[in-house]
């Protein structure tokens, strides 16, 4: 069964609290607060060898959406 995540932007703690309580104990859905601050790879500082093969943020759309809205609903595979 697919699980669903509701990721709430950090600027909306009231929404996070409400949804967290509302969906408490429901295995199908999890409510998370996005605590990430900015793009850690924003600065392009040359390094001799970057061990990170790829940006793990494979879905930058989520980040983009969270900048303009209070939350994003995603479905896990």
């Amino acid at each position: 069964m697919a699980r669903q995540l509701v990721i709430v932007a950090r600027e909306h703690p009231d929404l996070y609290s409400y949804l967290r309580e509302r969906f408490a104990g429901r295995a199908q859905a999890e409510v998370l607060l996005d605590r990430r601050v900015g793009q850690r790879r924003g600065e392009h500082v040359p390094v001799p060898s970057d061990r990170r093969r790829q940006d793990r943020r494979a879905r930058p759309g989520v980040d983009t959406m969270l900048r303009s809205r209070s939350h994003v609903i995603v479905t896990l595979p």
Binding site: L5, E21, D34, R35, L76
Partner: protein, 169 residues
């Protein structure tokens, strides 16, 4: 008492999960240049028949609102309906209370349309993310169903829309 699942670190969880291919529950009309389509999320995206049925009831309420069908919207409400809005002390109680509020909002904001952008159904609870047009304000509503009626709603909206709605009550 809120139960906390084992993993709560969104950075780790999200990074790990996104690598596996998460689907963002947000659908737009491919023929649309930017404006969201009405009822953009289809019930087909929800997995179980009961989820789809629950979502359809909420979708009907949004459609009735957009059609300016206050009676149709009211008919979906349970007799014990309670409508709450974030940071608003007073709640709507009963279908008639809701009808008066809807009529007031419709008269003051006749162009207001709500587009469902994404949805999640868990049991009898339906979370709907919406966009209000033409203001482009985004918000969400959590609806609890009882039988096939809407028993409770909790709406979270940014200040602009909320102030307008509450001053109309």
């Amino acid at each position: 008492m809120i139960k906390h699942p084992g993993k709560t670190d969104v950075v780790e969880i999200r990074d790990r999960i996104l690598d596996k291919g998460v689907t963002v529950r947000r659908v737009r009309d491919p023929n649309d240049s930017g404006a969201p389509a009405a009822s953009a999320v289809g019930a087909g995206e929800l997995s179980s028949p009961s989820e789809r049925a629950a979502f359809r009831i909420v979708q009907k309420a949004f459609d009735a609102w957009n059609d300016q069908d206050v009676d149709g919207c009211t008919a979906l409400l349970d007799q014990g309906y309670v409508g709450e809005m974030h940071q608003t002390a007073s709640a709507l109680r009963g279908p008639e209370d809701a009808r008066l509020a809807m009529q007031s909002i419709r008269e003051s904001l006749p162009d207001l349309r709500l587009t469902i952008e994404s949805a999640l159904t868990v049991g009898d609870d339906v979370l709907v993310s919406w966009r209000a047009m033409p203001s482009e304000v985004v918000g969400c509503t959590v609806t609890r169903l009882q039988g096939r009626k809407i028993a409770h709603t909790w709406t979270y909206a940014p200040n602009r829309l909320r102030s307008k709605a509450t001053e109309l009550r």
